[in-house]
């Protein structure tokens, strides 16, 4: 089955190590990720102002492109894209007044009524491929690898937008278990990583990253698993800043869930672009005999 895929800016550049293993793995599972033609930026953060429709236009345009491509659902990898597209889609579906105003404004486009379903790749894997199916196709089970899932904010909240229960999500745990790995529960798995503060003020990020990582390491994790390029950057790259401030801090590799999928499916480290991981996960994976 062809899958309409919206990459967004970061997946095409700094988060290649998120995208490449995803495309390879989905193909291995018998589907094909087809990049949406003429996609544009989603805006990254959903505008929360009731009087601001301007910032909903970019996501609406992208959703219209999905219909033009003959699809009725679009899959994203980036949690920020997912959240922005889905929140705007909800406005178009539920708020008739705003929908009309946006459609009138976008008079060069066809009318849009919120009828595309926005999916995150994890949802697709869980609901349409099925974790049982994935389990059957695993060639190199992640035996004994202790992984701590980190969801962050935008895959889960606000209510009605997330891919799983807002307080006690299970999807990443189930996914890891399907791949044969062990999960390590962390109390901070649904808490913010400091997000965009990482640009102008790294203090909050360094503090959050240290807390999140320490909690996972204390509970025995060997790596952290994420599904958002910004969480990835803050938890992975910012470890060097945490290290500068805290003597004795231990580094831990951070992996995209798609990298784990590719490895478990036996596609090898070549499709994982591990060069883009700041804390190199290869020594750990090598030690476990996975690459």
């Amino acid at each position: 089955m062809d899958l309409c895929y919206y990459p967004g800016c970061t997946l095409k550049t700094t988060a290649k190590n998120f995208e490449t293993p995803a495309i390879a793995s989905i193909e291995n599972l018998g589907h094909k990720m087809v990049e949406l033609p003429r996609w544009n930026c989603c805006g990254t953060v959903h505008s929360l102002a009731a009087d601001d429709l301007m910032h909903q236009l970019a996501p609406v345009r992208t959703l219209i492109r999905v219909l033009e491509a003959g699809a009725d659902k679009v899959v994203t990898l980036c949690a920020m894209c997912y959240n922005t597209l889905k929140q705007t889609n909800r406005i178009m579906l539920e708020d008739a007044d705003k929908r009309d105003r946006i459609n009138n404004f976008l008079d060069e486009e066809r009318d849009y009524s919120g009828n595309v379903s926005v999916l995150h790749l994890l949802e697709f894997l869980r609901d349409e491929v099925g974790f049982d199916e994935i389990e059957d196709k695993v060639k190199r089970p992640l035996d004994g690898l202790k992984l701590s899932p980190y969801y962050g904010c935008l895959l889960l909240r606000p209510e009605g937008i997330g891919i799983d229960d807002i307080e006690a999500p299970r999807v990443m745990e189930d996914f890891i278990m399907a791949l044969g790995g062990k999960t390590v529960e962390s109390p901070f798995k649904i808490e913010c990583c400091g997000s965009y503060h990482t640009v102008n003020d790294i203090e909050p990020v360094v503090e959050r990253t240290k807390m999140i990582i320490d909690a996972s390491i204390t509970r025995g994790a060997e790596a952290i698993v994420v599904g958002c390029p910004l969480c990835f950057f803050n938890l992975d790259y910012r470890q060097k800043n945490v290290e500068m401030k805290n003597r004795g801090f231990t580094r831990i590799p951070v992996l995209y869930f798609t990298q784990l999928l590719a490895i478990a499916l036996g596609l090898g480290g070549e499709v994982c672009d591990f060069d883009l991981n700041y804390v190199d996960p290869r020594p750990l994976l090598g030690k476990k005999g996975l690459i």
Binding site: G8, C9, T10, T13, T14, A15, C41, G43, T44, V45, S47, L48, A49, A50, D51, D52, H55, C78, M80, C153, R157, P158, E159, I166, E167, I190, E191, C192, G194, S195, Y196, H197, T198, V199, N200, E203, P204, E207, R208, P229, L230, F232, F233, Y237, Y278
Partner: protein, 257 residues
């Protein structure tokens, strides 16, 4: 510093000057306190050890009993207290104390029950209110932009309890909404809190009254950003080349006008 029980016992002794443990126990019971005789005895020995009361042994029914006498401890307590204020809060603490004493004086003359607030450090939560404050046009604006009814909040504090940024904030999220309710918009707009909020929606999903605080925070930021002001000046930033694009776009979306 004295514990609350120690204070109560000392205040009885201060009045009576001289009493037995039994006498103090009865006096506290009369004041409506539920306390046991053993506790009173324990606390008294502790006070004795610390030099706050003087203990004398006297014969009683063929055995003996202790009587306790008040020792003048005012000097020591006040000195300790001042040192603590100085150590904890520095000059601000001492100033604050002076201010407090002045208010006490003023309030007792009933000329000024509500103090002027601009010189009061943030330790004091008292504010003066008028109808104009509460019917402020800016509150209306916040409600318009956010689409939220800020008066729905009943201050349970759940937003602050779950906020991941709370340790860095100068005002707690529930204080922000309380101040908005009372029209104290200036305090709110000068606060770091509205910029630290990164819209993680933890408060939004947990509010029992359905107030979307993330939207209120966004509205407060927009009040400033829509005047074409920037909280973050992109040209002045030292940009790390490894930053993902989404970090830059979202930062500038949230922090520039």
């Amino acid at each position: 510093m004295l514990g609350s029980l120690e204070k109560r016992i000392l205040s009885v002794l201060h009045k009576e000057r001289n009493a037995t443990a039994r006498g103090i126990f009865k006096a506290l019971r009369d004041e409506g306190m539920s306390i046991t005789y053993v506790t009173v005895n324990t606390v008294l020995s502790r006070l004795n050890k610390r030099g706050f009361v003087k203990r004398t042994k006297e014969p009683f029914r063929g055995k003996f009993r202790y009587t306790y006498e008040y020792v003048k401890v005012k000097d020591q307590l006040v000195t300790d207290f001042l040192e603590d204020m100085d150590l904890l809060f520095g000059e601000e603490g001492v100033d604050y104390l002076k201010m407090k004493l002045k208010y006490r004086e003023l309030a007792s003359t009933e000329e000024m029950a509500i103090p002027v607030r601009d010189s009061v450090p943030s330790l004091d939560m008292r504010i003066s209110l008028s109808r104009n404050d509460v019917q402020n046009a800016i509150i209306k604006k916040v409600e318009d932009i956010s689409g939220q009814n800020v008066l729905a909040c009943y201050q349970c504090g759940k937003c602050s309890a779950g906020c991941p940024m709370v340790s860095l904030m100068d005002l707690l999220p529930n204080q922000i909404i309380r101040l908005v309710q009372l029209g104290q918009v200036e305090d709110v707009l000068n606060s770091k809190t509205i910029w630290l909020c990164a819209s993680c929606f933890s408060c939004t999903t947990r509010c029992p009254k359905g107030v979307d605080l993330a939207k209120v925070m966004e509205a407060l930021r927009l009040l400033l950003l829509r005047k074409s002001t920037n909280y973050v000046e992109p040209s002045e930033l030292d940009i790390d080349e490894n930053l993902p694009q989404i970090a830059l776009v979202s930062n500038f979306r949230k922090m520039t006008g």
